[in-house]
């Protein structure tokens, strides 16, 4: 079954990112995969409310806003996805009793938005200079009605899928996913196949992120000279 945009089953959309375009936050990144575009702005370490203050580490807060409409429980769910993924990746122990606030805004949604949010957050955290244990990237796979598996689905492909699988991996530990969300009707073999496909897509996304960050640092050092 051919895909509407003629991609291979294992082919992700063209990735694009812009780092540091917002000048009020400590760090920002806009991550795009095809028509899905997510902007992330990060403050940290900043002042924390007394209620949230943690004695031995930074408090991580995530705010996720959809492209259309007011935030609902659906968006609260994505906030939890991002927060639980980064809670340990951010070296919060270096900044106790502070707050790291991650603000994610969906600019354009065309499938795989959760994965794009995680990717944008990693880049924004790097742009802000917040110490990280590892870089985390995510990818989404869906199992279509004919039981074929495709990676990085568009909204249209995701709506008609039998099951959706989002995996996030760090660049240090690939035997243990940082985040897993598999929903729908699927077998364990399909789960494993999606796991492998997402891992390959995440590898490519991490390589892309690395190139983007290296490019930014190169530009900064060159202008400094």
């Amino acid at each position: 079954m051919a895909r509407p945009d003629r991609r291979d089953p294992t082919q992700i959309r063209a990735l694009h990112c812009v780092l540091g375009q917002l000048n009020r936050v400590d760090g920002s990144a806009q991550f795009s995969a095809g028509d899905t575009s997510v902007l992330c702005g990060v403050y940290g370490p900043v002042d924390v409310k007394l209620y949230d203050e943690k004695l031995d580490r930074a408090h991580i807060e995530v705010k996720f806003r959809p492209d259309i409409g007011v935030p609902t429980t659906k968006d609260k769910w994505v906030e939890d996805a991002v927060r639980s993924t980064f809670e340990r990746e951010i070296l919060g122990q270096l900044h106790p009793r502070t707050l790291v606030q991650i603000n994610v805004q969906v600019c354009q949604g065309d499938g795989s938005v959760d994965a794009a949010a995680i990717n944008a957050t990693t880049l924004a955290l790097i742009d802000a200079g917040i110490p990280l244990r590892a870089m985390v990237a995510a990818a989404t796979c869906v199992v279509r009605s004919d039981h074929s598996i495709i990676v990085d689905p568009t909204q249209e492909e995701a709506d008609s899928a039998l099951s959706t699988h989002t995996f996030a991996f760090s660049n240090l530990q690939t035997n243990s996913p940082a985040y897993v969300d598999s929903r729908g009707e699927f077998s364990i073999d399909e789960y494993n196949a999606c796991y492998d496909m997402c891992m390959a897509a995440v590898d490519r996304t991490l390589a892309f992120m690395r190139t983007a960050v290296e490019g930014k640092i190169l530009k900064e050092t060159q202008t400094a000279l």
């Binding site: 243990s176 985040y179 729908g184 699927f186 789960y191």
Partner: protein, 274 residues
């Protein structure tokens, strides 16, 4: 006598002031503080029809965790885009009555996330077309309130089982729309039950202290969990959900092992739901 009393007092104090160390003492010896094996779930009891005034209800107990689910049915107009479908709204209520962890007022993050997750799961279970009374004019709108009465860990599993039982218990009166008056009348003498697409069986595993994987963590263990894995199976041998949160290490073979354990748990939950 005096020395035994002192020992009991010391254990309770130790549990309070060094919760991590307390748990480690047991976990490092391959056991848990309540005597369970690592992958042993607590005794689960389900009673259906506990709320007489609701159209469907159930009370679920997993160990000390107690959750009540009540489903109320109302008639309303369908959405313009889906004229033959009714509504199922799920709401998980975590209030101070169940645990000191929760503050009074608007639903907190955990309650909202649980509500959303259960809503997504049950989209596969209930066929909303069965809730249609008259196409484009009247449909049943089901409000499922899942209230936690006692929280001792693993509220999400209990909530899923409670809603599953309540939906199975649900009896809707025969409703018909009078085309002349536009009034929907319900005949309580004739009741229909929903035919569910599938049944769901949850199993939650927690990674305590970043090293020990335990099934059905209670409150003390849950507070120390660095990662949680929820596996939901359906009654046709397929998976409905694999949800891993938290960046603790739960590697691929462990996830496969948990899915196998979830199948054992399914038998226990299935017999409890009978």
């Amino acid at each position: 006598m005096a020395s035994t009393e002192q020992l009991t007092f010391a254990i309770e104090t130790f549990k309070r002031i060094h919760p991590v160390e307390f748990q480690r003492r047991f976990l490092s010896q391959d056991t848990r503080h309540d005597g369970r094996a690592f992958l042993q779930f607590r005794a689960t009891h389900v009673v259906k029809g506990t709320i007489g005034t609701a159209q469907g209800s159930a009370t679920v107990r997993i160990g000390n965790t107690t959750v009540v689910c009540g489903i109320k049915a109302e008639v309303s107009e369908p959405d313009v885009n889906t004229p033959d479908q009714g509504y199922l709204a799920t709401n998980v209520d975590l209030s101070p009555i169940c645990s000191a962890n929760y503050r009074p007022g608007a639903p907190g993050d955990e309650a909202q996330i649980d509500s959303e997750h259960i809503f997504r799961l049950f989209g596969e279970v209930v066929d909303l077309k069965q809730l249609c009374i008259e196409n484009d004019q009247a449909v049943w709108s089901l409000s499922a309130d899942i209230v936690c009465l006692k929280s001792d860990g693993n509220v999400l599993d209990a909530a899923i089982i409670a809603l599953m039982a309540a939906v199975e218990d649900l009896k809707l009166p025969q409703a018909s729309l009078d085309p002349a008056t536009g009034v929907v009348s319900a005949d309580k003498a004739i009741e229909t039950q929903l035919t569910l697409r599938k049944r769901l069986f949850p199993a939650t595993f927690s990674l305590v202290d970043d090293a020990y994987l335990v099934a059905d963590a209670d409150d003390a263990e849950e507070r120390l969990a660095t990662a949680t894995l929820l596996v939901v199976l359906d009654d046709q041998g397929r998976l409905a959900n694999v949800w891993k949160r938290g960046a603790g290490t739960i590697d691929r073979p462990t996830i496969a092992h948990c899915i196998a354990e979830a199948k054992n748990r399914q038998n226990a939950v299935s017999s409890a739901l009978e």
